[in-house]
C-alpha cells in the first residue's frame, strides 16, 4: 500500500466524490442542520466520528461473517450485508454514546443530540457499502489493505460532509441578512444555493468534451 493511493482516497472522498454533493447521500441533515454554524459543525464532527467507527465495524462484520473466502462459516452471505450493517451501525452508535457519556462528558455535551440522530443517516450506511464496492473483490479474497482504506475513506467522507455542511451554514447565515424576494425566502433559496454548490463541486471532477 503506497501513500499516494491513500492521498487519492482522501482527496477523492472530500472533494471529488463528495457524499452530499456528488452522491446525494445525507441530504436531510444538509438542509435541516445547516441553519447555523455551530450546530452544523457539531453535526459534522459527529458524522466524522460515526463514519470512521462504522467503516471499522462493518469491515469486521463483512470479512468475518459475510464474505465467503474469509468467513468463519464458509458461506457466501453477502446478500445480508444491508441488514447486518444497519444492525451493527445502530448498536455501535448506542454503545459509543454510552461510553463517551461516561468517559468524556464534555464530548458528549458537544455532540449532544446529533449522535443518535445520525444512526439512521443514509450516508453512514452508504460509506460502508461503498467501501465494499471500492476496496473488496466481491467474489474473491479481499485486498489486503482494504481495512485501512475503508477507515480512511470513512473518515474523509465525514470530513467532506462537514466541509459542505459548514459552507452551506455559512452561506445561509449570510442569507438571513440579505434581501431575498418573498417567495424565495427560506427553503427555496437554500435549494438553489445547494444546486449552485453542487455545480461548483462538479468542477473538481474535471470537464470532458
Amino acid at each position: 500500500m503506497d501513500f499516494s493511493t491513500l492521498f487519492l482516497i482522501i482527496i477523492g472522498s472530500i472533494f471529488i466524490n463528495n457524499f452530499v454533493i456528488h452522491r446525494f447521500l445525507g441530504l436531510c441533515p444538509y438542509i435541516g442542520v445547516s441553519k447555523n454554524m455551530d450546530s452544523a459543525f457539531g453535526m459534522g464532527m459527529a458524522v466524522i466520528f460515526v463514519m470512521t467507527m462504522a467503516s471499522t465495524i462493518t469491515w469486521l462484520i463483512y470479512t468475518f461473517f459475510l464474505n465467503k473466502a474469509t468467513s468463519i462459516f464458509g458461506l457466501d452471505l453477502t446478500f445480508l450485508r444491508t441488514i447486518a450493517f444497519i444492525l451493527s451501525i445502530a448498536v455501535l452508535v448506542q454503545f459509543v454514546e454510552m461510553v463517551i457519556k461516561k468517559a468524556a462528558p464534555e464530548l458528549y455535551k458537544a455532540l449532544g443530540i446529533y449522535l443518535p440522530l445520525i444512526t439512521t443517516n443514509c450516508a453512514v450506511l452508504g460509506v460502508s457499502i461503498l467501501n465494499i464496492n471500492s476496496f473488496f473483490k466481491i467474489d474473491g479474497t479481499p485486498v489486503s489493505a482494504s481495512f485501512i482504506k475503508s477507515i480512511i475513506q470513512g473518515a474523509s467522507a465525514g470530513v467532506g460532509f462537514t466541509l459542505v455542511l459548514v459552507l452551506m451554514a455559512g452561506i445561509r447565515e449570510r442569507l438571513e441578512y440579505s434581501k431575498v424576494p418573498k417567495s424565495m425566502k427560506g427553503m427555496p433559496i437554500s435549494f438553489i444555493i445547494a444546486g449552485c454548490m453542487a455545480l461548483a463541486f462538479l468542477g473538481f471532477s474535471g470537464m470532458k468534451f
Binding site: 462484520i61 444492525l87 454510552m98
Partner: protein
C-alpha cells in the same frame, strides 16, 4: 443457506443485545433525580437570565453547587417556590423585573436622521456606520434588535415603528438589554412606575434639537429639586432615577418641561386614615417618605393632605388596613 443466514443474524442480534445491556450497566452514569425534577419545573426557554447555560445548566447548578433558586426570571416566584420544595428549602419572595426602554424616539415619524441607511437592517450593524443614522447619538436606532431577540413576544411594534413592552408578558430575562447596542433598556422592578425616557448626555439645546420626539432630557434639574426623597440625580446633562429610592409618586413627571418623564400611574387617589381602625402603631408615619403623617403613639394618626404626595406606601404598610383611598 436459509437456516445459516437466520442463525447468523440472530446470533449477531443476541451478541449485540448482550453487549449493549452489559455496557449500559458498566457505563451507567448516575444522575441526581432532583436535576430532572427541577428541569421539569423550569420554563425551558433557555433564555440565560439566571446566568447559567440554559435551563439544564441552571438545574444542575442548583443541585450540584447550590445556586440560588430564585434566579429564574421567566418562572418568577411560582417556579422559585417549586424549586425550593424539591430542594427542601424555602424561597424568598423576589419582585419581578420588567424591561424599560429609556427613549421615546426611534419611530418612522419621530426620529431625526443624518442620512438614509440602506445597509443591513439591524441595530448592531447600523451603529457601526458613522455611529448610527439618527441625529441623536444616544437614542434608539429603530431596527428592532430587541424585538427579534425577545423569547416571550413581550415587545410589540406599533404602526409608528415604536417598540412597546408588554408588562404582563415581560419576564425580565434581560435578553433585550444585551441586544441594545445603545444600552437604552434597563431592568426595573415592576412596582416602579415612573421612568425618565431619555439617555442623551448632550447639552440641553443640542439634545432637544436632535430628538425627533422633542422629549429629550435637557438637564434642567427641575425634577431633582421637586423629588421629595432625593431619588433623582443629575449627571452629564441627564437626570436618572435611583430606583432603589423611588416611590413612584410621579411629582417629577409633572414638572418636566420636555415631558421626558413618563408616569404610568393614571390617577393617584388621596389616602385617608379611618380613625376607628387606627391603633396608633406609627408604622405609617415612619414609612412616609415626606413625613406627611402625624400622630402620637397609640392614638389615631392623621395625614396632612398638603404634604402628602399620594405614593400609597402607607396603605401597603398598615397592619390593620386602616388606611383607604378616597373614592
Amino acid at each position: 443457506m436459509l437456516l445459516v443466514s437466520i442463525i447468523v443474524l440472530s446470533v449477531l442480534g443476541i451478541l449485540f443485545g448482550i453487549a449493549l445491556s452489559f455496557a449500559s450497566k458498566v457505563f451507567h452514569v448516575d444522575i441526581d433525580p432532583k436535576i430532572e425534577h427541577i428541569e421539569e419545573v423550569l420554563p425551558g426557554v433557555n433564555c440565560g437570565a439566571c446566568g447559567y447555560p440554559g435551563c439544564t445548566g441552571y438545574a444542575k447548578a442548583i443541585v450540584v453547587s447550590g445556586a440560588d433558586p430564585t434566579l429564574c426570571a421567566p418562572g418568577g416566584h411560582d417556579v422559585a417556590i417549586q424549586i425550593a420544595k424539591i430542594m427542601g428549602t424555602k424561597a424568598s419572595k423576589k419582585e419581578r423585573n420588567i424591561a424599560v426602554i429609556h427613549c421615546q424616539s426611534g419611530g418612522i415619524n419621530n426620529t431625526n436622521i443624518k442620512f438614509e441607511n440602506k445597509g443591513i437592517p439591524t441595530c448592531q450593524a447600523a451603529i457601526l456606520l458613522s455611529n448610527g443614522q439618527n441625529a441623536c447619538t444616544y437614542g434608539c436606532l429603530g431596527y428592532n434588535d430587541c424585538y427579534r431577540v425577545c423569547p416571550f413576544d413581550a415587545i410589540s411594534i406599533d404602526e409608528n415603528n415604536m417598540r412597546i413592552i408588554d408588562e404582563d408578558k415581560c419576564t425580565g430575562c434581560g435578553k433585550c438589554v444585551e441586544a441594545c447596542p445603545r444600552d437604552l433598556i434597563e431592568l426595573v422592578p415592576i412596582s416602579k412606575k415612573v421612568h425618565i425616557q431619555c439617555m442623551s448626555h448632550d447639552k440641553g439645546k443640542d439634545a432637544k434639537a436632535k430628538c425627533g420626539n422633542n422629549t429629550a432630557c435637557i438637564g434642567c434639574g427641575l425634577c431633582v429639586k421637586k423629588c421629595p426623597i432625593d431619588a433623582i440625580t443629575l449627571e452629564n446633562n441627564l437626570a436618572t432615577i435611583n430606583y432603589e429610592k423611588c416611590v413612584s409618586c410621579g411629582l417629577c413627571a409633572t414638572v418636566c418641561p420636555t415631558k421626558a418623564i413618563e408616569d404610568r400611574i393614571q390617577s393617584r387617589p388621596q389616602p385617608i386614615i379611618i380613625e376607628e381602625k387606627c391603633i396608633g402603631c406609627t408604622i405609617c408615619a415612619k414609612k412616609c417618605p415626606v413625613n406627611a403623617i402625624d400622630g402620637e403613639l397609640k392614638k389615631a394618626h392623621k395625614i396632612d393632605e398638603e404634604k402628602c404626595i399620594r405614593c400609597g406606601i402607607c396603605i401597603d404598610v398598615c397592619p390593620k388596613k386602616a388606611i383607604e383611598v378616597k373614592s
